[in-house]
Amino acid sequence: MPDTTPTWLLVVASLVKSAILIVILLTIFAYMTWIERRVVARIQGRLGPNRAGPFGALQPLADAIKMAFKEQIIPAQAYKAIYLIAPVISVVVALSAFAVVPIGNSWTPGHPSVWDPWVGDINVGLLWILSISSLAVYGIVLGGWSSGNRYSLLGSLRSAAQMISYETSLGLALSGTLMWAGTLSMVSIVRQQTLQGQGIWFIVAQPLGFLIYIIAAVAEVNRAPFDLPEAEQELTAGYLTEYSGLRWSLYQMAEYINMITVSSVATTLFFGGWSFFGLERIPGLSIVIFAVKVAFFLFLFIWLRATLPRIRYDRLMRLGWQFLLPLAVLNAVVTAACVALGLPWWVNGLIGLAIIVAVLAITWQRSRQTRFAISKTGAELLPPSVRLVKSIEPELGLVNGGETAVAGVERQQALLQDGRVQV
Protein backbone atom coordinates (compact mmCIF):
# COMPACT_ATOMS: atom_id res chain seq x y z
CA MET A 1 0.00 0.00 0.00
CA PRO A 2 1.38 3.46 -0.82
CA ASP A 3 2.89 5.29 2.09
CA THR A 4 1.17 8.50 1.09
CA THR A 5 -2.23 7.12 2.12
CA PRO A 6 -3.48 9.03 5.17
CA THR A 7 -4.07 6.92 8.25
CA TRP A 8 -7.75 7.83 8.57
CA LEU A 9 -8.42 6.57 5.03
CA LEU A 10 -6.73 3.26 5.86
CA VAL A 11 -8.86 2.89 8.98
CA VAL A 12 -12.09 3.76 7.16
CA ALA A 13 -11.28 1.45 4.26
CA SER A 14 -10.44 -1.42 6.59
CA LEU A 15 -13.65 -0.94 8.57
CA VAL A 16 -15.81 -0.82 5.44
CA LYS A 17 -14.09 -3.84 3.90
CA SER A 18 -14.37 -5.80 7.15
CA ALA A 19 -18.09 -5.01 7.36
CA ILE A 20 -18.62 -6.17 3.77
CA LEU A 21 -16.58 -9.31 4.39
CA ILE A 22 -18.54 -10.19 7.54
CA VAL A 23 -21.85 -9.77 5.71
CA ILE A 24 -20.60 -11.99 2.86
CA LEU A 25 -19.31 -14.66 5.25
CA LEU A 26 -22.52 -14.74 7.26
CA THR A 27 -24.61 -15.01 4.08
CA ILE A 28 -22.45 -17.87 2.85
CA PHE A 29 -22.82 -19.52 6.26
CA ALA A 30 -26.60 -19.29 6.10
CA TYR A 31 -26.76 -20.70 2.61
CA MET A 32 -24.11 -23.34 3.29
CA THR A 33 -26.44 -24.91 5.87
CA TRP A 34 -29.19 -25.09 3.25
CA ILE A 35 -26.91 -26.31 0.46
CA GLU A 36 -25.40 -28.90 2.76
CA ARG A 37 -28.80 -30.26 3.75
CA ARG A 38 -29.92 -30.37 0.11
CA VAL A 39 -26.73 -32.05 -1.11
CA VAL A 40 -26.62 -34.60 1.70
CA ALA A 41 -30.30 -35.35 1.10
CA ARG A 42 -29.64 -35.82 -2.60
CA ILE A 43 -26.76 -38.22 -1.89
CA GLN A 44 -28.90 -40.17 0.56
CA GLY A 45 -31.91 -40.28 -1.77
CA ARG A 46 -34.08 -37.86 0.24
CA LEU A 47 -35.55 -34.48 -0.64
CA GLY A 48 -34.14 -32.21 2.03
CA PRO A 49 -35.66 -28.84 2.99
CA ASN A 50 -37.96 -27.88 0.10
CA ARG A 51 -40.93 -26.09 1.68
CA ALA A 52 -39.88 -22.51 2.43
CA GLY A 53 -39.58 -20.60 -0.83
CA PRO A 54 -38.46 -22.01 -4.17
CA PHE A 55 -36.40 -25.19 -3.61
CA GLY A 56 -36.51 -24.38 0.08
CA ALA A 57 -34.21 -21.42 -0.49
CA LEU A 58 -35.79 -19.43 2.34
CA GLN A 59 -35.03 -22.20 4.84
CA PRO A 60 -31.98 -20.37 6.33
CA LEU A 61 -34.21 -17.37 7.02
CA ALA A 62 -36.78 -19.56 8.74
CA ASP A 63 -34.06 -21.24 10.75
CA ALA A 64 -32.61 -17.89 11.78
CA ILE A 65 -35.99 -16.69 13.02
CA LYS A 66 -36.53 -19.93 14.89
CA MET A 67 -33.10 -19.74 16.52
CA ALA A 68 -33.54 -16.11 17.51
CA PHE A 69 -36.78 -16.82 19.34
CA LYS A 70 -35.66 -20.00 21.07
CA GLU A 71 -35.04 -19.87 24.78
CA GLN A 72 -31.36 -19.78 25.66
CA ILE A 73 -31.03 -22.09 28.60
CA ILE A 74 -28.23 -21.49 31.08
CA PRO A 75 -27.64 -24.60 33.22
CA ALA A 76 -27.66 -24.04 36.99
CA GLN A 77 -24.20 -25.60 37.33
CA ALA A 78 -22.68 -23.45 34.56
CA TYR A 79 -19.98 -20.82 35.02
CA LYS A 80 -22.20 -18.14 33.65
CA ALA A 81 -19.80 -15.51 32.29
CA ILE A 82 -17.59 -18.00 30.47
CA TYR A 83 -20.58 -19.99 29.30
CA LEU A 84 -22.05 -16.88 27.69
CA ILE A 85 -18.83 -15.63 26.13
CA ALA A 86 -17.40 -18.90 24.75
CA PRO A 87 -19.47 -19.05 21.52
CA VAL A 88 -18.63 -15.40 20.89
CA ILE A 89 -14.91 -16.21 21.13
CA SER A 90 -15.39 -18.94 18.54
CA VAL A 91 -17.09 -16.62 16.05
CA VAL A 92 -14.73 -13.67 16.56
CA VAL A 93 -11.70 -15.90 16.04
CA ALA A 94 -13.21 -17.49 12.94
CA LEU A 95 -14.05 -14.10 11.43
CA SER A 96 -10.70 -12.45 12.15
CA ALA A 97 -8.73 -15.30 10.62
CA PHE A 98 -10.29 -14.41 7.28
CA ALA A 99 -8.92 -10.86 7.33
CA VAL A 100 -5.77 -11.59 5.33
CA VAL A 101 -7.36 -13.76 2.63
CA PRO A 102 -7.21 -12.01 -0.76
CA ILE A 103 -10.51 -12.76 -2.49
CA GLY A 104 -9.59 -11.10 -5.78
CA ASN A 105 -6.96 -9.31 -7.83
CA SER A 106 -6.32 -5.65 -7.03
CA TRP A 107 -8.72 -3.39 -8.96
CA THR A 108 -5.93 -1.77 -10.93
CA PRO A 109 -3.09 -4.32 -11.16
CA GLY A 110 0.26 -2.75 -10.43
CA HIS A 111 -1.28 0.20 -8.56
CA PRO A 112 -2.17 -0.89 -5.03
CA SER A 113 -5.01 1.03 -3.42
CA VAL A 114 -6.70 0.86 -0.04
CA TRP A 115 -9.85 -0.56 -1.66
CA ASP A 116 -8.27 -3.77 -2.96
CA PRO A 117 -10.38 -6.83 -2.16
CA TRP A 118 -8.59 -7.94 1.00
CA VAL A 119 -8.78 -6.43 4.45
CA GLY A 120 -5.07 -6.50 5.18
CA ASP A 121 -1.98 -7.66 3.32
CA ILE A 122 0.50 -8.16 6.13
CA ASN A 123 3.87 -9.75 5.49
CA VAL A 124 3.11 -12.60 7.89
CA GLY A 125 -0.33 -13.29 6.41
CA LEU A 126 -0.26 -17.06 6.54
CA LEU A 127 1.14 -17.11 10.08
CA TRP A 128 -1.70 -14.80 11.05
CA ILE A 129 -4.25 -17.36 9.88
CA LEU A 130 -2.42 -20.19 11.65
CA SER A 131 -2.06 -18.30 14.91
CA ILE A 132 -5.62 -16.99 14.98
CA SER A 133 -7.11 -20.36 14.14
CA SER A 134 -4.97 -21.92 16.88
CA LEU A 135 -7.07 -19.77 19.25
CA ALA A 136 -10.26 -21.32 17.92
CA VAL A 137 -9.93 -24.23 20.31
CA TYR A 138 -10.58 -21.90 23.28
CA GLY A 139 -14.16 -21.30 22.26
CA ILE A 140 -14.80 -25.04 22.32
CA VAL A 141 -12.81 -25.90 25.45
CA LEU A 142 -14.31 -23.05 27.46
CA GLY A 143 -17.82 -23.80 26.22
CA GLY A 144 -17.45 -27.43 27.21
CA TRP A 145 -15.90 -26.71 30.59
CA SER A 146 -18.27 -23.90 31.60
CA SER A 147 -21.35 -26.00 30.84
CA GLY A 148 -20.58 -27.91 34.03
CA ASN A 149 -21.48 -31.17 32.34
CA ARG A 150 -19.28 -34.23 31.91
CA TYR A 151 -20.42 -34.88 28.35
CA SER A 152 -19.60 -31.32 27.36
CA LEU A 153 -16.23 -31.42 29.10
CA LEU A 154 -15.18 -34.68 27.49
CA GLY A 155 -16.35 -33.48 24.08
CA SER A 156 -14.37 -30.28 24.38
CA LEU A 157 -11.24 -32.07 25.59
CA ARG A 158 -11.41 -34.44 22.66
CA SER A 159 -11.67 -31.46 20.40
CA ALA A 160 -8.67 -29.78 22.02
CA ALA A 161 -6.53 -32.89 21.64
CA GLN A 162 -7.65 -33.33 18.05
CA MET A 163 -6.98 -29.75 17.04
CA ILE A 164 -3.52 -29.66 18.62
CA SER A 165 -2.60 -32.97 16.99
CA TYR A 166 -3.61 -31.94 13.51
CA GLU A 167 -2.33 -28.37 13.72
CA THR A 168 1.25 -29.65 13.58
CA SER A 169 0.68 -31.58 10.35
CA LEU A 170 -1.29 -28.68 8.93
CA GLY A 171 1.49 -26.18 9.51
CA LEU A 172 4.20 -28.52 8.24
CA ALA A 173 2.20 -29.29 5.09
CA LEU A 174 1.93 -25.58 4.36
CA SER A 175 5.66 -25.04 4.88
CA GLY A 176 6.43 -26.85 1.60
CA THR A 177 4.38 -24.33 -0.34
CA LEU A 178 6.02 -21.49 1.56
CA MET A 179 9.43 -22.72 0.45
CA TRP A 180 8.32 -22.50 -3.17
CA ALA A 181 6.62 -19.15 -2.75
CA GLY A 182 9.38 -17.62 -0.63
CA THR A 183 6.92 -15.34 1.14
CA LEU A 184 4.26 -15.46 3.85
CA SER A 185 2.07 -12.70 2.44
CA MET A 186 -1.09 -14.20 0.96
CA VAL A 187 -1.22 -11.67 -1.87
CA SER A 188 2.39 -12.37 -2.87
CA ILE A 189 1.78 -16.14 -2.70
CA VAL A 190 -1.01 -15.76 -5.25
CA ARG A 191 1.15 -13.46 -7.41
CA GLN A 192 3.86 -16.13 -7.40
CA GLN A 193 1.39 -18.52 -9.02
CA THR A 194 0.26 -16.19 -11.80
CA LEU A 195 1.88 -16.11 -15.22
CA GLN A 196 3.95 -13.12 -14.10
CA GLY A 197 5.33 -15.18 -11.21
CA GLN A 198 6.40 -18.80 -11.46
CA GLY A 199 3.46 -19.66 -13.71
CA ILE A 200 2.40 -22.82 -11.85
CA TRP A 201 -0.17 -23.58 -9.21
CA PHE A 202 1.71 -24.99 -6.27
CA ILE A 203 -0.43 -28.14 -6.24
CA VAL A 204 1.76 -29.48 -9.07
CA ALA A 205 4.88 -29.02 -6.97
CA GLN A 206 3.24 -30.07 -3.72
CA PRO A 207 0.74 -32.90 -4.31
CA LEU A 208 1.75 -34.60 -1.06
CA GLY A 209 1.60 -31.35 0.87
CA PHE A 210 -1.88 -30.67 -0.47
CA LEU A 211 -3.13 -34.13 0.49
CA ILE A 212 -1.80 -33.77 4.04
CA TYR A 213 -3.23 -30.26 4.29
CA ILE A 214 -6.70 -31.25 3.18
CA ILE A 215 -6.88 -34.21 5.59
CA ALA A 216 -5.57 -32.11 8.47
CA ALA A 217 -7.93 -29.27 7.56
CA VAL A 218 -10.99 -31.52 7.77
CA ALA A 219 -9.84 -32.63 11.22
CA GLU A 220 -9.01 -29.07 12.24
CA VAL A 221 -12.53 -27.78 11.57
CA ASN A 222 -14.09 -30.83 13.26
CA ARG A 223 -15.99 -31.97 10.21
CA ALA A 224 -17.03 -35.53 9.38
CA PRO A 225 -15.32 -38.01 9.32
CA PHE A 226 -13.36 -36.32 12.09
CA ASP A 227 -16.32 -34.79 13.95
CA LEU A 228 -15.41 -36.58 17.18
CA PRO A 229 -16.22 -33.63 19.46
CA GLU A 230 -19.89 -34.04 18.59
CA ALA A 231 -20.02 -37.83 18.39
CA GLU A 232 -23.60 -38.15 19.53
CA GLN A 233 -23.51 -41.87 20.27
CA GLU A 234 -20.80 -41.37 22.87
CA LEU A 235 -21.04 -37.79 24.02
CA THR A 236 -24.60 -36.60 23.30
CA ALA A 237 -23.66 -33.47 21.38
CA GLY A 238 -20.19 -32.90 22.87
CA TYR A 239 -19.48 -29.31 23.83
CA LEU A 240 -22.79 -28.26 22.27
CA THR A 241 -24.88 -30.35 24.67
CA GLU A 242 -26.09 -27.51 26.90
CA TYR A 243 -26.25 -24.80 24.26
CA SER A 244 -29.48 -23.77 22.60
CA GLY A 245 -30.89 -20.97 20.50
CA LEU A 246 -28.63 -18.22 19.23
CA ARG A 247 -25.51 -19.36 21.05
CA TRP A 248 -25.81 -22.80 19.52
CA SER A 249 -26.05 -21.24 16.09
CA LEU A 250 -23.00 -19.09 16.88
CA TYR A 251 -20.99 -22.31 17.23
CA GLN A 252 -22.42 -23.55 13.95
CA MET A 253 -21.50 -20.22 12.38
CA ALA A 254 -17.91 -20.54 13.61
CA GLU A 255 -17.67 -24.06 12.21
CA TYR A 256 -18.85 -23.03 8.75
CA ILE A 257 -16.70 -19.90 8.66
CA ASN A 258 -13.70 -22.02 9.60
CA MET A 259 -14.61 -24.31 6.72
CA ILE A 260 -14.62 -21.34 4.36
CA THR A 261 -11.28 -20.18 5.75
CA VAL A 262 -9.48 -23.51 5.30
CA SER A 263 -11.00 -23.80 1.81
CA SER A 264 -9.70 -20.33 0.99
CA VAL A 265 -6.24 -21.20 2.28
CA ALA A 266 -6.23 -24.37 0.18
CA THR A 267 -7.27 -22.30 -2.84
CA THR A 268 -4.70 -19.60 -2.19
CA LEU A 269 -1.73 -21.84 -1.45
CA PHE A 270 -2.28 -24.75 -3.80
CA PHE A 271 -4.69 -23.65 -6.53
CA GLY A 272 -3.45 -20.19 -7.42
CA GLY A 273 -6.04 -18.17 -5.47
CA TRP A 274 -7.81 -15.77 -7.82
CA SER A 275 -5.52 -16.56 -10.76
CA PHE A 276 -6.65 -18.53 -13.80
CA PHE A 277 -4.20 -18.45 -16.72
CA GLY A 278 -4.30 -14.69 -17.21
CA LEU A 279 -8.08 -14.28 -16.86
CA GLU A 280 -7.50 -12.71 -13.44
CA ARG A 281 -6.44 -9.43 -15.06
CA ILE A 282 -10.11 -8.51 -15.19
CA PRO A 283 -10.59 -7.61 -11.50
CA GLY A 284 -14.27 -8.53 -11.22
CA LEU A 285 -13.65 -11.92 -12.80
CA SER A 286 -10.86 -12.73 -10.37
CA ILE A 287 -13.34 -12.68 -7.48
CA VAL A 288 -15.61 -15.09 -9.38
CA ILE A 289 -12.66 -17.42 -10.06
CA PHE A 290 -11.78 -17.41 -6.38
CA ALA A 291 -15.39 -18.06 -5.37
CA VAL A 292 -15.67 -21.02 -7.74
CA LYS A 293 -12.49 -22.58 -6.39
CA VAL A 294 -13.59 -22.14 -2.78
CA ALA A 295 -17.03 -23.51 -3.61
CA PHE A 296 -15.40 -26.66 -4.93
CA PHE A 297 -13.68 -27.26 -1.58
CA LEU A 298 -16.85 -26.50 0.34
CA PHE A 299 -18.65 -29.08 -1.78
CA LEU A 300 -15.84 -31.51 -1.00
CA PHE A 301 -16.51 -31.03 2.72
CA ILE A 302 -20.21 -31.83 2.24
CA TRP A 303 -19.38 -34.77 0.02
CA LEU A 304 -17.01 -36.21 2.63
CA ARG A 305 -19.62 -35.82 5.33
CA ALA A 306 -22.21 -37.68 3.30
CA THR A 307 -19.82 -40.45 2.30
CA LEU A 308 -17.51 -41.41 5.14
CA PRO A 309 -18.39 -42.89 8.54
CA ARG A 310 -16.89 -41.35 11.64
CA ILE A 311 -13.41 -42.57 12.53
CA ARG A 312 -12.75 -44.09 15.97
CA TYR A 313 -10.98 -41.81 18.44
CA ASP A 314 -7.80 -43.86 18.98
CA ARG A 315 -7.47 -44.29 15.22
CA LEU A 316 -7.89 -40.56 14.75
CA MET A 317 -4.98 -39.90 17.08
CA ARG A 318 -2.87 -42.61 15.48
CA LEU A 319 -3.59 -41.23 12.02
CA GLY A 320 -2.54 -37.76 13.10
CA TRP A 321 0.68 -38.59 14.94
CA GLN A 322 1.96 -41.75 13.32
CA PHE A 323 0.88 -41.22 9.74
CA LEU A 324 0.25 -37.59 8.81
CA LEU A 325 3.01 -36.00 10.88
CA PRO A 326 5.87 -38.24 9.58
CA LEU A 327 4.60 -37.74 6.03
CA ALA A 328 4.48 -33.98 6.54
CA VAL A 329 8.06 -33.99 7.85
CA LEU A 330 9.14 -36.09 4.87
CA ASN A 331 7.43 -33.65 2.53
CA ALA A 332 9.14 -30.70 4.19
CA VAL A 333 12.56 -32.38 3.91
CA VAL A 334 12.07 -33.32 0.24
CA THR A 335 10.80 -29.85 -0.63
CA ALA A 336 13.64 -28.14 1.20
CA ALA A 337 16.15 -30.29 -0.70
CA CYS A 338 14.49 -29.52 -4.05
CA VAL A 339 14.33 -25.79 -3.39
CA ALA A 340 17.87 -25.62 -2.02
CA LEU A 341 19.32 -27.58 -4.96
CA GLY A 342 17.40 -25.40 -7.41
CA LEU A 343 15.56 -28.35 -8.97
CA PRO A 344 12.54 -27.55 -11.18
CA TRP A 345 9.05 -27.87 -9.73
CA TRP A 346 8.15 -31.08 -11.56
CA VAL A 347 10.92 -33.01 -9.75
CA ASN A 348 9.31 -32.12 -6.44
CA GLY A 349 5.88 -32.94 -7.85
CA LEU A 350 6.98 -36.35 -9.13
CA ILE A 351 8.64 -37.23 -5.81
CA GLY A 352 5.44 -36.22 -4.02
CA LEU A 353 3.30 -38.36 -6.32
CA ALA A 354 5.69 -41.29 -5.90
CA ILE A 355 5.40 -41.03 -2.11
CA ILE A 356 1.59 -40.90 -2.34
CA VAL A 357 1.51 -44.00 -4.56
CA ALA A 358 3.94 -45.85 -2.27
CA VAL A 359 1.92 -44.99 0.83
CA LEU A 360 -1.32 -46.07 -0.81
CA ALA A 361 0.23 -49.35 -1.95
CA ILE A 362 1.62 -50.12 1.51
CA THR A 363 -1.67 -49.18 3.16
CA TRP A 364 -3.61 -51.39 0.74
CA GLN A 365 -1.23 -54.28 1.37
CA ARG A 366 -1.32 -53.93 5.14
CA SER A 367 -5.04 -53.32 5.35
CA ARG A 368 -5.60 -56.79 3.93
CA GLN A 369 -5.11 -58.00 7.47
CA THR A 370 -7.82 -55.74 8.83
CA ARG A 371 -10.20 -56.11 5.90
CA PHE A 372 -9.80 -59.88 5.84
CA ALA A 373 -8.81 -62.51 8.34
CA ILE A 374 -6.45 -64.85 6.51
CA SER A 375 -7.40 -68.45 7.29
CA LYS A 376 -4.98 -71.35 7.54
CA THR A 377 -5.74 -72.36 3.96
CA GLY A 378 -4.82 -68.88 2.79
CA ALA A 379 -8.37 -67.85 1.98
CA GLU A 380 -9.64 -64.37 2.88
CA LEU A 381 -12.41 -64.34 5.47
CA LEU A 382 -14.21 -61.29 6.70
CA PRO A 383 -12.56 -60.12 9.96
CA PRO A 384 -14.04 -61.23 13.31
CA SER A 385 -15.46 -57.76 13.99
CA VAL A 386 -17.57 -57.90 10.85
CA ARG A 387 -18.65 -61.51 10.52
CA LEU A 388 -21.29 -62.65 12.90
CA VAL A 389 -19.75 -65.98 13.89
CA LYS A 390 -17.05 -66.47 16.48
CA SER A 391 -14.57 -68.48 14.42
CA ILE A 392 -14.52 -70.77 11.45
CA GLU A 393 -12.09 -73.61 11.94
CA PRO A 394 -11.83 -76.66 9.68
CA GLU A 395 -13.29 -78.95 12.34
CA LEU A 396 -16.37 -76.78 12.56
CA GLY A 397 -16.75 -76.79 8.84
CA LEU A 398 -19.14 -79.74 8.48
CA VAL A 399 -22.31 -78.09 7.31
CA ASN A 400 -23.69 -80.96 5.26
CA GLY A 401 -23.23 -84.48 6.57
CA GLY A 402 -22.13 -85.98 3.28
CA GLU A 403 -19.42 -83.46 2.41
CA THR A 404 -15.81 -83.66 3.43
CA ALA A 405 -14.59 -81.14 5.97
CA VAL A 406 -12.48 -79.18 3.51
CA ALA A 407 -15.23 -78.79 0.99
CA GLY A 408 -17.53 -77.65 3.78
CA VAL A 409 -15.10 -74.96 4.85
CA GLU A 410 -14.74 -73.66 1.33
CA ARG A 411 -18.46 -73.61 0.87
CA GLN A 412 -18.97 -71.76 4.11
CA GLN A 413 -16.27 -69.25 3.20
CA ALA A 414 -17.97 -68.60 -0.08
CA LEU A 415 -21.21 -68.00 1.74
CA LEU A 416 -19.49 -65.73 4.25
CA GLN A 417 -17.99 -63.62 1.50
CA ASP A 418 -21.46 -63.14 0.11
CA GLY A 419 -22.61 -62.14 3.55
CA ARG A 420 -25.45 -64.63 3.30
CA VAL A 421 -24.50 -66.72 6.30
CA GLN A 422 -25.39 -65.26 9.63
CA VAL A 423 -24.65 -67.96 12.15
Binding site: I122, N123, V124, L127, W128, S131, S134, V141, L153, L157
Partner: protein
Protein backbone atom coordinates in the same frame (compact mmCIF):
# COMPACT_ATOMS: atom_id res chain seq x y z
CA UNK B 1 3.28 4.78 15.16
CA UNK B 2 5.01 7.61 16.95
CA UNK B 3 4.64 10.48 19.38
CA UNK B 4 1.59 10.77 21.63
CA UNK B 5 -0.24 7.84 19.98
CA UNK B 6 2.61 5.52 20.95
CA UNK B 7 2.68 6.81 24.54
CA UNK B 8 -1.09 6.51 24.97
CA UNK B 9 -1.28 3.02 23.49
CA UNK B 10 1.68 1.97 25.64
CA UNK B 11 -0.03 3.05 28.82
CA UNK B 12 -3.33 1.45 27.89
CA UNK B 13 -1.55 -1.81 27.11
CA UNK B 14 0.61 -1.55 30.23
CA UNK B 15 -2.37 -1.12 32.56
CA UNK B 16 -4.32 -3.88 30.82
CA UNK B 17 -1.46 -6.38 30.88
CA UNK B 18 -0.59 -5.68 34.53
CA UNK B 19 -4.26 -6.06 35.48
CA UNK B 20 -4.57 -9.38 33.65
CA UNK B 21 -1.26 -10.54 35.13
CA UNK B 22 -2.60 -9.76 38.61
CA UNK B 23 -5.64 -11.82 37.69
CA UNK B 24 -3.40 -14.84 37.17
CA UNK B 25 -2.41 -14.91 40.84
CA UNK B 26 -5.55 -13.48 42.42
CA UNK B 27 -8.28 -15.69 40.94
CA UNK B 28 -9.23 -18.64 43.12
CA UNK B 29 -10.50 -20.59 40.14
CA UNK B 30 -7.59 -22.17 38.26
CA UNK B 31 -9.37 -21.89 34.91
CA UNK B 32 -9.83 -18.14 35.39
CA UNK B 33 -6.13 -17.87 36.23
CA UNK B 34 -5.23 -19.69 33.03
CA UNK B 35 -7.53 -17.38 31.06
CA UNK B 36 -5.86 -14.34 32.61
CA UNK B 37 -2.49 -15.73 31.61
CA UNK B 38 -3.72 -16.11 28.02
CA UNK B 39 -4.92 -12.51 28.10
CA UNK B 40 -1.53 -11.38 29.43
CA UNK B 41 0.23 -13.21 26.61
CA UNK B 42 -2.06 -11.59 24.05
CA UNK B 43 -1.29 -8.15 25.49
CA UNK B 44 2.40 -8.99 25.30
CA UNK B 45 1.93 -9.82 21.61
CA UNK B 46 0.34 -6.40 21.19
CA UNK B 47 3.43 -4.81 22.75
CA UNK B 48 5.55 -6.50 20.10
CA UNK B 49 3.11 -5.33 17.44
CA UNK B 50 3.39 -1.81 18.75
CA UNK B 51 7.17 -2.00 18.36
CA UNK B 52 6.75 -3.10 14.74
CA UNK B 53 7.88 -6.67 15.41
CA UNK B 54 5.08 -8.32 13.47
CA UNK B 55 6.70 -11.73 13.26
CA UNK B 56 7.48 -12.03 16.97
CA UNK B 57 3.95 -10.89 17.83
CA UNK B 58 2.30 -13.50 15.64
CA UNK B 59 4.64 -16.25 16.82
CA UNK B 60 3.93 -15.24 20.41
CA UNK B 61 0.22 -15.85 19.81
CA UNK B 62 0.82 -19.01 17.80
CA UNK B 63 3.10 -20.72 20.31
CA UNK B 64 2.16 -19.41 23.74
CA UNK B 65 -1.52 -18.54 23.44
CA UNK B 66 -2.30 -21.09 20.74
CA UNK B 67 -0.35 -24.16 21.79
CA UNK B 68 1.12 -24.03 25.30
CA UNK B 69 -1.83 -22.42 27.04
CA UNK B 70 -4.23 -24.84 25.35
CA UNK B 71 -2.33 -27.67 27.01
CA UNK B 72 -2.46 -25.79 30.34
CA UNK B 73 -6.19 -25.33 30.01
CA UNK B 74 -6.56 -28.93 28.95
CA UNK B 75 -5.06 -30.14 32.23
CA UNK B 76 -6.66 -27.48 34.41
CA UNK B 77 -10.22 -28.07 33.18
CA UNK B 78 -9.75 -31.79 33.63
CA UNK B 79 -8.01 -31.89 37.01
CA UNK B 80 -8.63 -28.65 38.89
CA UNK B 81 -10.83 -28.97 41.94
CA UNK B 82 -14.14 -27.18 41.85
CA UNK B 83 -13.41 -23.79 43.46
CA UNK B 84 -17.01 -23.68 44.72
CA UNK B 85 -16.11 -26.55 47.02
CA UNK B 86 -16.19 -25.08 50.59
CA UNK B 87 -13.57 -27.58 51.86
CA UNK B 88 -10.98 -26.17 49.50
CA UNK B 89 -8.02 -24.62 51.30
CA UNK B 90 -4.53 -23.41 50.45
CA UNK B 91 -2.10 -26.23 51.18
CA UNK B 92 1.04 -24.21 50.51
CA UNK B 93 0.52 -21.01 52.55
CA UNK B 94 4.28 -20.37 52.94
CA UNK B 95 4.77 -19.89 49.20
CA UNK B 96 3.05 -16.50 49.25
CA UNK B 97 5.78 -14.89 51.34
CA UNK B 98 8.56 -16.42 49.25
CA UNK B 99 6.85 -15.35 46.03
CA UNK B 100 6.49 -11.79 47.32
CA UNK B 101 10.18 -11.58 48.24
CA UNK B 102 11.34 -13.03 44.93
CA UNK B 103 8.98 -10.74 43.03
CA UNK B 104 10.39 -7.72 44.85
CA UNK B 105 13.93 -8.84 43.99
CA UNK B 106 12.98 -9.12 40.30
CA UNK B 107 11.27 -5.73 40.23
CA UNK B 108 14.24 -4.15 42.03
CA UNK B 109 16.80 -5.61 39.67
CA UNK B 110 14.86 -4.66 36.57
CA UNK B 111 14.20 -1.11 37.73
CA UNK B 112 17.85 -0.65 38.67
CA UNK B 113 18.93 -1.75 35.19
CA UNK B 114 16.28 0.38 33.51
CA UNK B 115 16.95 3.51 35.55
CA UNK B 116 20.72 3.30 35.27
CA UNK B 117 20.19 2.77 31.54
CA UNK B 118 23.65 1.34 30.85
CA UNK B 119 22.83 -2.08 29.37
CA UNK B 120 20.32 -0.66 26.92
CA UNK B 121 22.78 1.88 25.56
CA UNK B 122 25.52 -0.71 25.35
CA UNK B 123 23.26 -3.17 23.55
CA UNK B 124 22.32 -0.49 21.07
CA UNK B 125 25.98 0.36 20.51
CA UNK B 126 27.13 -3.26 20.26
CA UNK B 127 24.55 -4.45 17.77
CA UNK B 128 24.03 -1.25 15.92
CA UNK B 129 20.28 -0.74 16.08
CA UNK B 130 20.57 1.71 13.19
CA UNK B 131 22.09 -0.92 10.90
CA UNK B 132 19.52 -3.46 12.03
CA UNK B 133 16.56 -1.26 11.21
CA UNK B 134 18.10 -0.59 7.79
CA UNK B 135 18.26 -4.33 7.11
CA UNK B 136 14.64 -4.72 8.20
CA UNK B 137 13.59 -1.87 5.93
CA UNK B 138 15.46 -3.39 2.99
CA UNK B 139 14.58 -7.05 3.33
CA UNK B 140 11.44 -7.08 5.43
CA UNK B 141 10.70 -8.32 8.88
CA UNK B 142 10.74 -12.09 8.44
CA UNK B 143 13.61 -12.14 5.98
CA UNK B 144 15.82 -10.20 8.38
CA UNK B 145 14.75 -12.49 11.22
CA UNK B 146 15.47 -15.62 9.18
CA UNK B 147 18.87 -14.31 8.11
CA UNK B 148 19.80 -13.59 11.71
CA UNK B 149 18.49 -16.92 12.96
CA UNK B 150 20.07 -19.19 10.36
CA UNK B 151 23.27 -17.27 9.64
CA UNK B 152 24.21 -15.09 12.60
CA UNK B 153 22.87 -17.30 15.36
CA UNK B 154 22.75 -20.70 13.69
CA UNK B 155 24.88 -22.35 16.41
CA UNK B 156 22.61 -21.15 19.18
CA UNK B 157 19.61 -22.23 17.12
CA UNK B 158 20.92 -25.75 16.64
CA UNK B 159 21.88 -26.07 20.30
CA UNK B 160 18.39 -24.96 21.30
CA UNK B 161 16.79 -27.61 19.11
CA UNK B 162 19.12 -30.20 20.69
CA UNK B 163 18.02 -29.06 24.16
CA UNK B 164 14.37 -29.44 23.13
CA UNK B 165 14.99 -32.94 21.78
CA UNK B 166 16.68 -33.86 25.08
CA UNK B 167 13.70 -32.46 26.98
CA UNK B 168 11.26 -34.52 24.88
CA UNK B 169 13.31 -37.67 25.40
CA UNK B 170 13.49 -36.94 29.11
CA UNK B 171 9.72 -36.59 29.30
CA UNK B 172 9.37 -39.89 27.43
CA UNK B 173 11.73 -41.69 29.81
CA UNK B 174 10.05 -40.27 32.91
CA UNK B 175 6.61 -41.06 31.53
CA UNK B 176 7.55 -44.64 30.75
CA UNK B 177 8.77 -45.35 34.30
CA UNK B 178 5.43 -44.40 35.78
Amino acid sequence: MSGPALIISFFVLAVASVASALGVILFRNAVYSALSLILTLLFLAMFYLQLGAMFIAIVQILIYAGAIMVLFLFVVTMLAADPRDPDLQDRLPWQRGVAAVLGLVLVGALSYLLLSGTPLNEAARAHGSEALSQVVAQQGNIQAFGQALFHGFSFAFEVTSLVIVVAILGALVLGRKA
